[in-house]
């Protein structure tokens, strides 16, 4: 039997592919959140992390293309399954009642599409960096003097606009809700759900979704409320004391110098 036929043509195979691609994307968002939670540490932490990822170069592009391919398969199959499901009942009932389907399961397509729109905006906002002017994407230097993007300040600047912040919170809320059905469902689709432990699975998934949402909302909330502050003196508009042990060399003048050096190199 041809494996491609099983995974992309048979009804159960398509669901298994949805489950596997969904799980990979879930793994990515958990990793993404863990990376982002570094915003609560010293700015160097998340800036060095972002610099490390960017420095992977071709490796980073391999990961990005892999994730993009997985996302495309997930969305493409979802669309295909939806069309098949609509075609399986050409004429509907006058007043069908819902017996036990959860709200999360009934709104998978709606939450999925909104999350997809969000992903596009999010990539334009923080990865392609075109939704805002250059002042929203500052640079800084690490403690060892490496010039890097100031991701720490960029995130906080990004959440200064309440409309954008609300959109972010809404999108991760809907994603958590999407996962509420998706995570349970993937166990069913690959056949790992039984009555023996389905209640436990349900509770674990609920806890994971709530924690995932809170983790994301915490970052946006902390940035909006000023709990996490911009520490780049050039962006914040104040000058550090020269004898400060935390920032070391990184006062506004040093960052400006490294910026100039960088632009000199480019020209």
């Amino acid at each position: 039997m041809n494996i491609l036929h099983v995974l992309f043509k048979s009804s159960i195979g398509k669901k298994i592919t949805m489950a596997v691609t969904g799980f990979i994307l879930f793994g990515f968002v958990i990793g993404h959140l863990s990376g982002n939670l570094q915003i609560f540490a010293h700015p160097d932490k998340i800036n060095a992390y972002a610099h490390f990822l960017e420095a992977l170069g071709p490796g980073l592009w391999l990961i990005r293309l892999f994730l993009l391919a997985i996302l495309i398969i997930h969305v493409w199959l979802a669309a295909q399954l939806t069309l098949e499901n609509k075609a399986a009942r050409p004429q509907g009932y006058q007043n069908q009642i819902t017996l036990r389907a959860t709200l999360a399961s009934r709104y998978m397509r709606v939450t999925g599409v909104i999350v997809l729109v969000f992903i596009v905006y999010h990539l334009l906002h923080f990865t392609v960096r075109v939704t805002h002017g250059p002042e929203a994407y500052p640079n800084t230097v690490l403690i060892d003097g490496t010039p890097v993007r100031d991701v720490h300040s960029m995130i906080i600047l990004g959440f200064q606009n309440p409309l954008i912040s609300i959109f972010y919170i809404l999108a991760v809320g809907l994603l958590s809700w999407h996962l509420r059905h998706g995570l349970v469902s993937m166990f069913q689709s690959i056949g790992w759900q039984t009555r023996t432990w389905s209640k436990a699975l349900n509770k674990i998934v609920l806890a994971v979704c709530v924690l995932y949402f809170l983790g994301n909302a915490l970052i946006v909330g902390a940035a909006m409320s000023g709990q996490v502050r911009i520490q780049n003196p050039q962006v914040a508009g104040y000058v550090c004391r020269t004898d400060c042990e935390i920032c070391g060399l990184r006062n506004a003048a040093t960052i400006a110098e490294s910026d100039e050096a960088a632009s000199d190199n480019q020209s």
């Binding site: 039997m1 494996i3 099983v6 048979s10 009804s11 159960i12 195979g13 398509k14 669901k15 298994i16 399954l81 098949e84 499901n85 075609a87 399986a88 009942r89 050409p90 004429q91 509907g92 009932y93 006058q94 007043n95 069908q96 009642i97 819902t98 017996l99 036990r100 389907a101 959860t102 399961s105 009934r106 998978m108 059905h181 349970v184 469902s185 166990f187 069913q188 689709s189 690959i190 056949g191 790992w192 759900q193 039984t194 009555r195 389905s198």
Partner: protein, 254 residues
């Protein structure tokens, strides 16, 4: 008691159907839903009109012939009951009851409330059997089967093939039916020789018949007159995955 019926009337598979209203009067609350339809039909016959066509056979909940979507739920408002086991006492005096046929591309309407559910037969022919010697039965305990497995297989075997799962599923998926039929045999030692080919063939027969895909909402299980668990769908997914993986590497005879 009396009720008003809004019934789907359709001359045959090629005609357009529509709802028509009928007053059902002088009913006994202990009449079954089908007996109530009998009363309405006698009235219609006396008036010289075409009686409402509906499918039935045993009228005791074991044959799976009666169908009908009653007020938006297959087999009516009760849990774990077929249309013939639904009694008028489940409705209130003066209720308006909407009666439709099961709707799915794979279950074309033949007349009024009667649908052609032969798609289930083609799925059964694809793998709903075991190979065993013909002749007299062997000793009852010749093949040991644990109580747990026997009970679980019995739960699956309760399926009467009525199609309520397809009717209730918003995708018209037949996963609960196929999983009950394949699961019952796959659980038992007698079903082992064809275990892998059974699940693969039955699933592909199901796909070919034009049923939808499972979205794991389990409306099927809630509507099932035999309350078959969605656990069997999980088992079928597991069996299908394992059969497919095994199929990739298994040795093939010339």
């Amino acid at each position: 008691m009396k009720v008003t019926l809004r019934v789907w009337r359709q001359k045959d598979g090629n005609s357009q159907g529509k709802f028509e209203e009928y007053a059902a009067e002088g009913l006994n609350p202990n009449m079954s839903f089908l007996e109530m339809l009998d009363v309405v039909n006698e009235d219609l016959i006396e008036k010289g009109e075409e009686p409402i066509a509906f499918a039935y056979d045993c009228r005791e909940g074991i044959c799976g012939t009666c169908s009908c979507m009653i007020n938006g739920k297959p087999h009516g408002p009760e849990n774990g009951a077929t249309t013939c086991q639904t009694y008028m006492r489940s409705f209130k005096d003066g209720d308006v009851i909407v009666v439709e046929p099961f709707r799915a591309k794979a279950f074309p309407v033949q007349k009024d409330l009667v649908t052609d559910r032969a798609a289930f037969d083609s799925i059964m022919q694809a793998g709903g059997y075991i190979t065993s010697r013909a002749g007299s039965c062997q000793d009852a305990n010749a093949i040991p089967i644990s109580k747990e497995i026997a009970d679980l297989a019995m739960d699956a075997a309760a399926c009467i093939g009525c199609g309520a799962c397809v009717a209730a599923c918003k995708n018209s998926s037949a996963m609960l039916f196929v999983s009950a039929k394949a699961g019952q045999l796959n659980l038992l030692p007698q079903g082992q020789p064809e275990k892998d080919s059974r699940v693969v063939n039955m699933v592909s027969a199901m796909d070919e018949a034009g049923f939808g895909n499972c979205t794991n909402q389990y409306e099927c299980s809630a509507a099932c007159p035999k309350l078959i668990s969605e656990e069997f769908i999980s088992k079928m997914n597991r069996d299908y995955l394992s059969a497919s993986v095994k199929g990739l590497f298994s040795a093939k005879a010339l």
